[in-house]
């Protein structure tokens, strides 16, 4: 029963192969099928059938790649021994066409930019210790700063100060910008300049003077004091609330009528400078960075908690009015900071609303109590929704994540294919020991590899172009019209595209902690891949050498 089944299977397999065989191989397919009846043993018949089917499938594939019109006919005289030349002409045409088409992509500025962006992932691999965001552009920014200084261009100096990784240099540029145009004092708040150790309180005072109703300068002041206090022996961590300077600054921040992080001013300034200096580097496009002081949330949380505690103490003493003022200050700052940040200092915000509702109820003002209660609930819910949204879209939305993945992958494929083409070309020259076109002899393996590399390069170029183009258009919209609607998308894409391929699992909805392999691991995997490829290349070279030796021996 099994034996009959095996033979039927063998016959069916070969018949199927015959059905897909090209016209010129049809006779041979019939020949193999005819011989199948005479093969002794069922397993042998199956092996016969598998071998024959493989031959016919290969013929079908060749016919697909090289249609009959393109395939060479029998060469006159000595053609059998020059088998290697069979596919040479059509293969060379394919290789040349694909290479030329790939190179033509480089004529397009968008493609050149896309290729440059696709290379950003390698910075992480080769310069892991450098400043991640700005390293590739540091030289360009330094050049722009120099030009701005020569032109006495305050806005360009502010632009450069925002992007200069060195804090002291950023402070120097910001100082120069403010000296040239005092209306740019806000630049002190948006650049990294105020992190510099020599950023003194006189500059904070300037910030406060230029925008006295803004909470941001007070938060910066609190941070400057906080950093000093936190690292001093006299004020161990946790005792920050006992520092009068810090408390005063935080109190002013909590009572300030507004919190402006100068995002709009920064966007407008960036747009003007980018247009003026014709900066086309996508990494200089402003993103959705948070300009809130680094320790701002933690300090605000500490202050909110201590204020609520102080309010409760006042309440226990019967001073409801003073207590209400404290709670209101906290609630007001929670409102200024927005629901997202409120979540981080909810230990201060939520009790503040609750206490306000409680006091109102005790005073018999039920409507006010319900209002504070509803406001507190609404804030908490909005904060949680906002946090959930941010978690889901961590590192950008699904589309930009996929596009970043495609850009990185196609950039890598393009480099790999180009390297393979160069290796093939070198191989042909070394093998032929000549640079004359007529003397160059390529083996079928070389031609096959070069064809795959050329087609691969063309496909990679097309994918790279198609994946990057939408972001290029969004950037153009910003540069030409100042339209900032697509900048969040661009920012998300650019932050993803800088990660080495494999350091994040693209397209997956993973939690924040699971989604990164980590840059150190990415570097390790990269070099492991290089080592494995080298091993495979060495093995291939040894096998090729052994094969060539066997043939030479056989032919001799």
């Amino acid at each position: 029963m099994t034996s009959g089944l095996l033979r039927r299977l063998a016959a069916s397999l070969l018949e199927a192969a015959v059905s897909i065989a090209p016209k010129e191989a049809l006779e041979w397919g019939q020949a193999m099928l005819g011989e199948l009846r005479h093969v002794e043993g069922n397993w042998s018949a199956l092996v016969w059938s598998l071998g024959g089917a493989g031959v016919l499938a290969k013929q079908a594939l060749v016919a697909l790649v090289f249609p009959s019109g393109d395939r060479p006919t029998i060469p006159s005289g000595g053609g059998f021994l020059s088998k290697e030349a069979d596919m040479r002409k059509p293969a060379l045409v394919v290789i040349a066409s694909c290479v030329v088409a790939s190179l033509l992509f480089f004529v397009l500025p968008v493609f050149r930019q896309a290729f440059q962006v696709s290379l950003a992932q390698w910075h992480e691999v080769f310069h892991i210790d450098l400043d991640f965001d700005r390293m590739d552009s540091a030289a360009a920014i330094a050049a722009l700063a120099k030009k701005a200084e020569q032109n006495h261009d305050a806005e360009a100096l502010a632009f450069a100060a925002e992007r200069t990784p060195n804090q002291n240099e950023a402070l120097r540029l910001a100082d120069e910008a403010v000296r040239l145009d005092p209306s740019l004092t806000w630049v002190y708040a948006t650049t990294g300049a105020w992190y510099a150790p020599n950023f003194g309180m006189e500059r904070v005072a300037l910030l406060q003077k230029s925008d006295p109703q803004n909470a941001l300068p007070y938060l910066i002041k609190a941070q400057k004091i906080g950093v000093t206090v936190t690292y001093s022996k006299e004020f161990p961590l946790g005792k920050i609330t006992e520092n009068p300077g810090w408390t005063q600054a935080m109190e002013a921040a909590f009572l300030a009528p507004r919190l402006d992080e100068y995002r709009d001013r920064r966007m407008q300034l960036d747009h003007r400078v980018l247009a003026r200096y014709q900066v086309h580097d996508p990494f200089q496009i402003p993103g959705d960075d948070d300009d809130f002081p680094a320790y701002g949330v933690w300090y605000a949380s500490r202050y909110a908690e201590s204020t609520v505690e102080a309010g409760q103490t006042l309440e226990s003493r019967g001073d409801r009015k003073a207590a209400s003022e404290r709670y209101l200050a906290v609630a007001h700052f929670c409102d200024l900071a927005g629901p997202y940040r409120m979540l981080f200092f909810r230990r201060g915000c939520k009790p503040a609303f609750e206490r306000l509702a409680n006091i109102s109820e005790m005073q018999g003002n039920k409507a006010e109590a319900a209002f504070y209660s509803a406001l507190g609930d609404e804030f908490t819910k909005t904060a949680e929704r906002d946090l959930a949204r941010r978690r889901n879209s961590f590192g950008g939305n699904e589309v930009s994540r996929w596009n970043a993945f495609l850009v990185r992958l196609s950039g890598l494929a393009l480099l790999f294919c180009a390297a393979l083409l160069v290796v093939c070309a070198l191989g042909v020259v070394v093998r032929s020991q000549s640079l004359k076109w007529s003397a160059l002899q390529a083996s079928q393996l070389t031609l096959g590899l070069a064809s795959i590399a050329a087609v691969g390069a063309l496909l990679a170029s097309a994918v790279l172009f198609a994946s990057y183009r939408p972001y290029s258009e969004l950037m153009q919209q910003y540069l030409s019209r100042g339209d900032t609607t697509g900048l969040a998308e661009v920012s998300s894409f650019l932050s993803d595209v800088q990660l080495p391929l494999g350091s994040r699992l693209a397209g997956s909805q993973l939690r924040m902690s699971e989604s990164y392999v980590g840059s150190t691991s990415a570097v390790f995997y990269f070099w492991l891949g290089v080592a494995l490829l080298c091993g495979v290349a060495l093995l291939a070279a040894v096998l090729r050498h052994v094969q060539t030796r066997q043939r030479t021996t056989a032919a001799a």
Binding site: W28, G34, H38, W48, L50, G51, G52, L81, R551
Partner: protein, 121 residues
């Protein structure tokens, strides 16, 4: 003449460190089988058994030999109701090339076999 040309070609290839003309050992084996009885028509399965080559190796060789007119093919009917079989024989051109390709030691061995078997091998 052909043999001289080939020997010369192999020599040049060796001298230049290049691979010899690509006649695989399997192709040589098939040609050798054809040369043993050059006038006879051979079946594919028969050749496969004699050379130990699988169909996936044997048929591409036969196809290439036929393509370069070194091999002639013909369909022969065997039994009634059974499909005809494809048979093969070297052409004159094929025989010339095969003879030129045979290794001297193989020819000597074949001559020795023929002599020892009383001309029957």
């Amino acid at each position: 003449v052909a043999r001289k040309e080939l020997t010369g070609r192999i020599y040049i290839c060796r001298l230049r460190g290049m691979a010899s003309p690509r006649l695989s050992p399997q192709t040589l084996l098939v040609l050798e089988r054809f040369l043993e009885q050059p006038a006879e028509w051979r079946y594919g399965y028969e050749l496969s058994r004699e050379t130990g080559l699988k169909s996936g190796t044997l048929y591409p060789i036969l196809m290439r030999l036929a393509k370069y007119e070194l091999l002639e093919t013909k369909w022969v009917a065997t039994e009634e109701g059974v499909p005809p079989r494809h048979t093969y024989r070297l052409t004159t051109k094929g025989m010339e090339l095969s003879r030129a390709q045979q290794k001297p030691e193989r020819s000597v061995e074949r001559a020795r076999r023929v002599a020892l078997s009383g001309g029957k091998a």
